[in-house]
C-alpha cells in the first residue's frame, strides 16, 4: 500500500432558519419551543438597544472605547441559551455581552468596564462568567484549564469560550485547542467569525476555506453554522455542550456572522470596507430574520414589537443610570487588590500616594519639621 489515505476530515455547514425567516422544520425539531423563541427574540431586542445606547454614550464622551456587538446577537444568545446558568462557565472575549447577561452578569457591569472601572470586572458571587478579555486569543486557555478542573473533579460542568475569527491566528488558540483535545476536556470553542478583525478581512487573515477546519488539526468535532440563525447556533452549541458534559470532549463551532458596526467606537470601518458588503449583511440581521419568522407564525405583531422596544428602552436607561450612578472608584483599590494581603512597600505607596522616598523617613532626611 505505497499510497494510502491516512486521514480524512470534513466540515459541515448548518442552517435551520434561513435569511428570509423560513424554518427547516425537520432540523428544528427538538430545538427551541415557540415560547423560547419569543423570549429570546424579546431579549435580543433588549440587547440591541443596550448596545446602541453604549455607542451613543461613547459619542457623548460618557464612555471610553466601546466595541459594538450589533449583528452578532443570535450567535451570543443561541449559544448562551445552550449552557446552564450557574453551572456552566462562559469565558468571553468582548463581543458576546448578551450571553454574559443571560448568565447573570449585571448589564451595567459591561458599561462600567468600558467606562474604565475595574468594578465592571468584579464578577458577582454565583455568576459563572469570567471578565471580558482584551488580549486577543488568550482566554481560551483559561477556559480549557477550567474545563479540565471540572473533569478532574468529575463535575458535570462545561465551559464555552468565545473569540473572533482574528483570534484564531494567535498561537494561544492553537495551544488551547491542542490541550483541550489531548486531555478531552469539556470545553466548547465558539468562534464568532464576523468576517473582520479590525481592518483585516477573514480571507486575508487566513488562507483557509473555513475557520471550522482548523479543528481538524486536533481531531476535534467541528461545525460551521449560520451565526445569524438562532436555531442553528442553539442546536450546534447544545449538542456540543451536552456531548462535552457527558464526557465526549471538546468541540469547535464557527458561527458565520457579521460585525454590522465599526470594530470599536475608535474605528471607522468605512476606511476599509465597502458599503455594499455591509448593506448585504444588514439584510441578514438576526433580528429581522427572527421577527419575520415569528410574525409569519403568528407569534408576533407590531404591538408586541412596540412593547418590546419600550422595555428595551427602559432597560437601557436603567443600565446607564446604574453605571453612571456608582460612586467614583477609590485609588486605594489598586493597592488593596494587588495581592490578598498588602505588602509593606504597597502599604507605604498607598498611604503616601507617592514613590519617592525621602518622605518615608523624614527624620533621616532632617525633614521632620515639615
Amino acid at each position: 500500500m505505497p499510497i494510502r489515505t491516512a486521514y480524512e476530515g470534513k466540515v459541515e455547514f448548518l442552517q435551520i432558519l434561513d435569511e428570509n425567516g423560513v424554518l427547516d422544520e425537520s432540523l428544528a425539531k427538538g430545538t427551541l419551543s415557540d415560547d423560547d423563541v419569543v423570549e429570546l427574540y424579546t431579549y435580543m431586542v433588549k440587547c440591541r438597544a443596550v448596545d446602541e445606547t453604549a455607542f451613543k454614550l461613547q459619542r457623548a464622551k460618557r464612555m471610553g472605547t466601546y466595541p459594538q456587538n450589533k449583528g452578532q446577537e443570535a450567535a451570543a444568545i443561541g449559544s448562551g441559551f445552550a449552557a446552564r446558568r450557574g453551572v456552566d462557565w462562559l469565558v468571553p472575549c468582548y463581543r458576546e455581552n448578551a450571553a454574559l447577561w443571560m448568565h447573570g452578569q449585571p448589564m451595567h457591569y459591561v458599561f462600567m468596564y468600558w467606562m474604565g472601572d475595574e468594578r465592571g470586572s468584579q464578577i458577582p458571587e454565583g455568576v459563572c462568567t469570567l471578565p471580558l478579555c482584551v488580549p486577543i486569543g488568550t482566554q481560551m486557555l483559561h477556559a480549557t484549564g477550567m474545563a479540565w478542573a471540572f473533569k478532574m473533579r468529575k463535575e458535570p460542568r462545561v465551559c464555552i469560550t468565545y473569540f473572533g475569527d482574528g483570534a484564531t491566528s494567535e498561537g494561544d488558540f492553537h495551544e488551547a485547542m491542542n490541550f483541550a483535545s489531548a486531555f478531552q476536556v469539556p470545553c466548547v470553542f465558539f468562534c464568532q467569525n464576523n468576517q473582520w478583525a479590525i481592518s483585516v478581512p477573514r480571507e486575508q487573515q487566513m488562507n483557509s476555506a473555513t475557520v471550522a477546519q482548523k479543528a481538524l488539526a486536533y481531531d476535534m468535532p467541528t461545525t460551521q453554522v449560520d451565526g445569524n440563525d438562532l436555531f442553528a447556533v442553539y442546536k450546534a452549541t447544545r449538542d456540543a455542550v451536552e456531548r462535552a458534559r457527558s464526557g465526549g470532549g471538546p468541540a469547535f463551532i464557527e458561527a458565520v456572522t457579521y460585525r454590522l458596526a465599526d470594530h470599536t467606537t475608535a474605528d471607522d470601518a468605512r476606511r476599509y470596507r465597502d458599503a455594499q458588503e455591509v448593506d448585504a449583511w444588514m439584510g441578514k440581521d438576526p433580528l429581522i430574520r427572527l421577527r419575520k419568522y415569528l410574525t409569519a407564525k403568528g407569534l408576533w405583531d407590531d404591538a408586541k414589537q412596540a412593547a418590546a422596544d419600550e422595555v428595551a428602552k427602559q432597560t437601557a436607561s436603567e443600565v446607564v443610570r446604574s453605571a453612571e450612578g456608582i460612586t467614583p472608584p477609590v485609588a486605594t483599590d489598586m493597592f488593596d487588590y494587588t495581592f490578598e494581603s498588602i505588602t509593606p512597600e504597597l502599604e507605604t505607596q498607598r498611604a503616601t500616594m507617592r514613590t519617592h522616598s525621602l518622605g518615608q523617613r523624614p527624620q533621616q532626611a532632617g525633614l521632620a519639621a515639615h
Binding site: V134, T138, A167, E170, I198, S199, V200, Q205, R271, H356
Partner: protein, 332 residues
C-alpha cells in the same frame, strides 16, 4: 507622506514625524518594509502608517494576521534575509506574545552566531498611558527590554527627535525597540526639517539647563516634567534631561549633570520596583557618590497593575508629584 498645509503652518505632530520618517526611508531604501496588524489599508490604529500602503503597495506595507509572535518572528526572518523590516506591535501590552521571539531570538542572533547572522529590524510600539484607553493599552514595559542584552531601546518625546531617531533606528544594524509615547502622538506640534536627518542612538538631550538638581526622564514624562518646571521656586535651577535612548544608556550625560547639581529626581510611568529608574539611580550613586547631596528620588507609577482609565491619572506621575519630590530633594 508629503506634508499637508496644516503641517507646514503649525508644524508636525509625533505621528506626522514618524510617518514622514517611514515615508522617506521607504523611498530611499527598497529593503524597508512595514508590517503589522492594520498598518496597511487602515494606516494603523493611530494612523502612523497612513497613506504608506497607497504609495508603496501592499507588498511593502503589509497587513498581517493577528499574531504578534508571527509578526516578530517573520520580521526576524525578513531581516536575516536582507530586508529592513519595521514591524509594528499595535500596543505595548501585546508585546507579550512576541516576547520570546524578541528576547530569545532577535536579541541573540548576532552574538550567538558570532556576527554571521544579524537582525536589523526596528520594532515600533505605541507605548504608555494617559489616553483613556482600555486595559493593556497603557503599559510601560521598557525596563524589560533594556535588561535584554542585544536590544536597543529608543523612546522619543518630540516630533523632531522621533524623526531623527527613527531614521537612525532603521539604519542600525541591530534590533531596536522604538517606543512611541501615545500621550504625545498628537499633543504637540513642532516645525522640523523636511530633509532627512538622523540623531545618534544612545545620546541624551539636555532639555533645560540648571545647577541645583537634575531631573532625568523619558517619553511622555518629559512633558510632565516640563510642566512641573513652571512651578518650581524662582531660585531653584533645575536641569532636565530627556534620555531618548535608555539602552544603551547615556551615562556620561547623566554623570556630568549630577556631578554639577548633586541632586537627582528620576521620573517614569512604569511601576517603581525594578523599573528603569533603578538603573539610573544606581549608576548615579556608583559614579557620582561623592557629589550626591541627597538620595536620588524616583517619581514613578505605583507597584500595581496599570489601572483601568478612571484611575490612570492617579497612577501616572503628574507635575504635582514631580514638584513635590524635587522640592523635598532640594530641601534635603
Amino acid at each position: 507622506m508629503p506634508r499637508t498645509e496644516q503641517m507646514m503652518k503649525q508644524g508636525l505632530t509625533l505621528v506626522d514625524a514618524i510617518n514622514e520618517a517611514l515615508y522617506q526611508e521607504m523611498e530611499r531604501d527598497s529593503r524597508v518594509v512595514c508590517l503589522g496588524e492594520d498598518v496597511g489599508l487602515n494606516g494603523g490604529v493611530f494612523r502612523v502608517t497612513e497613506g504608506l500602503q497607497k504609495v508603496f503597495g501592499p507588498e511593502r506595507v503589509i497587513d498581517t494576521p493577528l499574531s504578534e509572535s508571527g509578526i516578530m518572528g517573520t520580521a526576524i526572518g525578513l531581516a536575516m534575509a536582507g530586508m529592513r523590516p519595521v514591524p509594528e506591535i499595535q500596543f505595548e501590552g501585546f508585546m507579550g506574545p512576541a516576547f520570546d521571539q524578541l528576547v530569545n531570538h532577535a536579541a541573540r542572533y548576532r552574538n550567538r552566531s558570532r556576527g554571521s547572522v544579524t537582525v536589523p529590524m526596528t520594532v515600533r510600539v505605541p507605548w504608555g498611558g494617559g489616553i483613556h484607553a482600555p486595559e493593556l493599552h497603557s503599559d510601560s514595559p521598557e525596563a524589560i527590554y533594556a535588561h535584554t542584552p542585544g536590544l536597543k531601546v529608543v523612546i522619543p518625546s518630540t516630533p523632531y527627535d522621533a524623526k531623527g531617531l527613527l531614521l537612525s533606528a532603521i539604519r542600525d544594524p541591530d534590533p531596536v525597540v522604538f517606543f512611541e509615547p501615545k500621550r504625545v502622538y498628537r499633543s504637540h506640534r513642532e516645525q522640523i526639517p523636511e530633509d532627512e536627518y538622523t540623531i545618534p542612538l544612545g545620546k541624551a538631550k539636555v532639555v533645560a539647563e540648571g545647577t541645583d538638581l537634575t531631573v532625568v526622564t523619558w517619553g511622555a514624562c518629559v512633558h510632565t516634567c516640563n510642566e512641573a518646571m513652571d512651578h518650581f521656586p524662582e531660585d531653584a535651577s533645575v536641569e532636565l534631561i530627556d534620555l531618548r535612548t535608555i539602552a544603551p544608556l547615556d551615562i556620561e550625560a547623566i554623570v556630568q549633570s549630577v556631578e554639577k547639581t548633586g541632586r537627582c529626581v528620576i521620573v517614569h510611568e512604569a511601576p517603581k520596583t525594578a523599573g528603569f529608574g533603578a538603573e539610573v539611580a544606581t549608576v548615579i550613586q556608583e559614579r557620582c557618590f561623592l557629589h550626591l547631596r541627597a538620595p536620588v528620588q524616583r517619581v514613578t507609577g505605583f507597584d500595581v497593575m496599570m489601572p483601568y482609565y478612571k484611575l490612570e491619572q492617579q497612577y501616572l506621575p503628574d507635575a504635582k508629584r514631580v514638584e513635590e519630590a524635587v522640592l523635598q530633594c532640594l530641601a534635603y
